[in-house]
């Protein structure tokens, strides 16, 4: 059975009303650390402990710093250690390097999240 264009919805552009921009690819891995915006106070303590200097302060006061150079991250996690608010920032390993493990009793496998 063939659907008409109208039936299949391909001509219904209303669901594509979001403006599309000519954006370049992002550098990867793009998210070496992830902020919890509800917890982060924007104190920038993480930034001060980063030897690779991957962060810049957010122009909006109180907001998490911006990870401007995620591709330079060393993943030493010192940003997480300096954070005064538990859970406001977490380290996020690149997907290609998330290690797996196996629970001995059940054989179930898990991975770094």
């Amino acid at each position: 059975m063939r659907l008409t264009a109208q039936e299949s919805g391909v001509n219904d552009m209303s669901k594509y009303d979001k403006q599309v921009y000519a954006k370049p690819n992002q550098v990867t891995p793009a998210r070496p650390a992830i902020f919890n915006e509800d917890l982060c106070t924007g104190c920038n303590a993480c930034m001060a402990a980063c030897q690779a200097d991957v962060f810049i302060p957010n122009p909006v006061e109180g907001k998490p710093p911006i990870i401007l150079f995620p591709d330079e991250c060393y993943y030493d996690g010192c940003c997480v250690e300096e954070c005064p608010v538990e859970g406001a920032i977490r380290l996020n390993h690149p997907l290609m390097q998330k290690v797996r493990w196996k629970r001995k009793a059940t054989g179930e496998t898990f991975r770094v999240k």
């Binding site: 550098v27 990867t28 891995p29 070496p32 001060a48 402990a49 980063c50 030897q51 690779a52 200097d53 810049i56 302060p57 122009p59 911006i66 401007l68 150079f69 591709d71 330079e72 991250c73 060393y74 993943y75 030493d76 996690g77 010192c78 997480v80 250690e81 300096e82 977490r90 380290l91 390993h93 690149p94 290609m96 390097q97 290690v99 797996r100 493990w101 196996k102 629970r103 001995k104 009793a105 496998t109 898990f110 991975r111 770094v112 999240k113």
Partner: protein, 652 residues
């Protein structure tokens, strides 16, 4: 692009080419472990000290995030080897292909350095009695040892506490710290290479400001170069044990200032810096930290460990003791080719595991079975060592625990013979190489002064020196020697022309709108090394390498561009990386013999380690001309006598 409102304005003031002038008696370039110790030791002698760090002192350097074992403290009370014997054994195990001066300083003052660190607030013993009665703990001192529990040559430490303690001490002593400031060049008397070093220049990587440092004595503590054969920002971050900032700035500026370097021909196949490997120490592996953890195959079949004679070791406990068959001690020193390797050979996982997997004896994937570890070992390894190793505290211990990993129940997967283990070496692409343990650097004397007057070095900046304790002990040693030197010299006038030339060199990339960026240039420079200076070395190939390098410097380097101070810093780094590549190529061409210990293979000179080549080959430059030389393998003379004549204890 700069007009695009989707970009945030650079958050720091732009101060390109604006000058700040700073004077001190002692100038320390590099704020890692070696640099902090050098600054503290000099300041404790009453000198005015300036410390310059490209990153942030609280955590910068390879040892900034932590340290889990403090190696070769021959002066520690439990060690069965005295410094003399330990240093002798280490040298012999490496067929003397190591730095006698820095090795001896480490063996003779490792423990006293550690005690000073404890005074500053570093944690070096099991004060909470968490491991009371454990076989690796000395009950009277509460010190804990690793690897060889009988001889106690290496101490387990809580090194995550070290860098903040050093920073506090620097502040207490009034050391003036310049962070986010990248040293770019050395300033010399009359502006000529080879004359006395009288200061340095720096680039602030947030503002782009130019800082001129004047000093009577200058120490370089900028670690060993990385990113010479392999660079990929998309791959290396989490698996690397060398931060991106280790680009060999010190090696390159020492070269430009006319200092002599040696052993630049030594490199090895990538280990801890693997492009595609898993987080260092973070997958199932048998390397050092993980010795007391069994490895099993996919069906749970245990893989045995063997002693130096290939005899199976019956239990986990015996893996931390010398072989029952007459071995006195073992050194944990991987990758040796030395003549006495047998005497000090450590226990190891079945060395032919790969062949056995191929024969079907063991099934992939392998796992590290933490569940069967003795309780003390599981707690000390997963808790203390993985909790303090540079760098595992957060990336392994915390991240894995947060995701539910339980060392009492779980087996950590190994990527050996799969995607690439973090630590288990397998025959593979040895064209991707790195300078690592025992690599090249500047030549020093017993004061740790280079061949250029007024220029000192510490840590991995010095040839064939490596490790956290070595960085600390050499930094501590050099600080005092610099103060003595500074007392006898005047502050010389800086040469304006030399400063202007340096400004022209480092700011050139900001005046270009586009061209080649630092990452592409870095990767391109690596290709020169992979193609012409790697597994298959010949005279003509390496000459091609130098020709291509000349061409890149002529045609591509002038296209480097940077549109903010951070990228400018990285761009200056890659200019240094190609300079270091030139040193390596030249050093490799000089050595017309292969060498097992140096991991050095020449197709045109295949004979391994002929005795006439058992010597250090040196190189330096003067006005663009390379001067080649050599030094006897033991140019430092009697280790004990010279150490005593120059040691911190005697004269400090």
């Amino acid at each position: 692009m700069s007009e695009d409102s989707s970009f945030i304005k650079w958050p720091y003031p732009i101060l390109y080419e604006q000058e700040d002038v700073v004077s001190s008696e002692v100038l320390v370039l590099g704020g890692g472990i070696a640099g902090c110790w050098a600054a503290i030791s000099a300041a404790r002698q009453g000198a005015s000290v300036v410390l310059v760090d490209k990153g942030c002192v609280i955590r910068s350097g390879c040892g900034g995030p932590g340290c889990d074992h403090w190696a070769w403290s021959g002066d520690n009370p439990a060690s069965t080897l005295d410094p003399d014997q330990m240093s002798h054994d280490l040298m012999e195990a490496r067929s003397n292909w190591t730095n006698g001066i820095t090795s001896y300083i480490n063996c003779a003052s490792g423990y006293e350095t550690l005690l000073e660190l404890e005074q500053m607030g570093g944690k070096i013993r099991d004060t909470e009695d968490e491991f009371k009665g454990a076989p690796f703990r000395d009950e009277s001192t509460k010190m804990m040892y690793a690897y060889d529990y009988e001889n106690c040559t290496i101490q387990r430490v809580w090194g995550h506490s070290f860098k903040p303690a050093l920073l506090e001490e620097l502040k207490r002593l009034g050391v003036k710290i310049y962070e986010r400031c990248q040293a770019t060049s050395l300033l010399t008397e009359n502006g000529k290479p080879g004359t006395r070093v009288i200061g340095a220049t720096g680039l602030n990587v947030q503002t782009g400001q130019f800082v001129i440092f004047k000093a009577k004595a200058t120490v370089m503590a900028m670690a060993m170069p990385t990113r010479n054969w392999v660079f990929s920002s998309e791959h290396r971050g989490v698996s690397s044990f060398k931060p991106i900032v280790n680009s060999g700035n010190g090696h390159a500026m020492a070269w430009r200032a006319g200092a002599t370097l040696t052993n630049m021909e030594r490199s090895m196949a990538l280990l801890l810096d693997g492009a595609n490997t898993y987080p260092a120490y973070g997958d199932g592996n048998n390397n050092n930290t993980w010795h007391p953890c069994n490895m099993v195959d996919a069906d749970g079949k245990e893989i045995p460990w063997v002693d130096r004679d290939g005899k199976e070791i019956p239990d986990v406990e015996s893996r931390s003791l010398p072989s029952r068959l007459g071995q006195e001690m073992f050194l944990f020193v991987p990758g040796l080719g030395g003549k006495s390797a047998y005497e000090s050979k450590p226990p190891m996982l079945l060395p032919d595991i790969q062949e056995r997997v191929l024969k079907g004896e063991y099934k992939l994937p392998l796992y590290a079975d933490l569940t069967t570890m003795p309780d003390d070992e599981r707690r000390v390894i997963w808790g203390v060592m993985v909790g303090n190793e540079s760098k595992t505290k957060t990336p392994i211990l915390k991240v894995y625990s947060d995701a539910g990993f339980d060392p009492e129940q779980d087996l950590l997967q190994s990527y050996y013979m799969l995607g690439g283990s973090s630590m288990m070496r397998e025959p593979g692409n040895i064209r991707e190489r790195m300078i690592f343990s025992g690599g090249g650097g500047v030549v020093v004397d017993w004061n740790l002064m280079t061949t250029v007057d007024g220029l000192f070095a510490a840590g991995e900046q010095i040839f064939s020196t490596n490790g956290h304790a070595s960085a600390a002990t050499t930094g501590r040693h050099v600080g005092k020697r610099m103060v003595e030197y500074a007392a006898d010299v005047n502050q010389a006038e800086l040469e304006r022309e030399q400063i202007e030339e340096e400004k022209k060199r480092i700011y050139a990339p900001i005046h270009r709108e586009n061209g080649v960026d630092w990452k592409e240039f870095n990767m391109g420079s690596c290709r020169i090394m992979q193609n012409y200076c790697s597994e298959h070395k010949t005279e003509s190939l390496m000459q091609m390498g130098i020709d291509v390098l000349d061409e890149y410097e002529r045609e591509e380097l002038p296209n480097l561009f940077a549109d903010n101070p951070h990228k400018l810093g990285r761009t200056v780094d890659v200019m240094d990386i190609i300079t270091v590549n030139r040193l390596i190529l030249n050093a490799c061409m000089m050595r017309k013999a292969s060498s097992a210990y140096l991991n050095f293979d020449r197709l045109d000179y295949p004979q391994k380690d002929p005795p006439e080549w058992h010597k250090w080959l040196t190189l330096k430059q003067k006005n663009g001309v390379i001067e080649r030389g050599e030094l006897p393998i033991d140019y430092w003379g009697s280790l004990k006598e010279n150490y005593e004549a120059h040691s911190a204890g005697k004269r400090g």
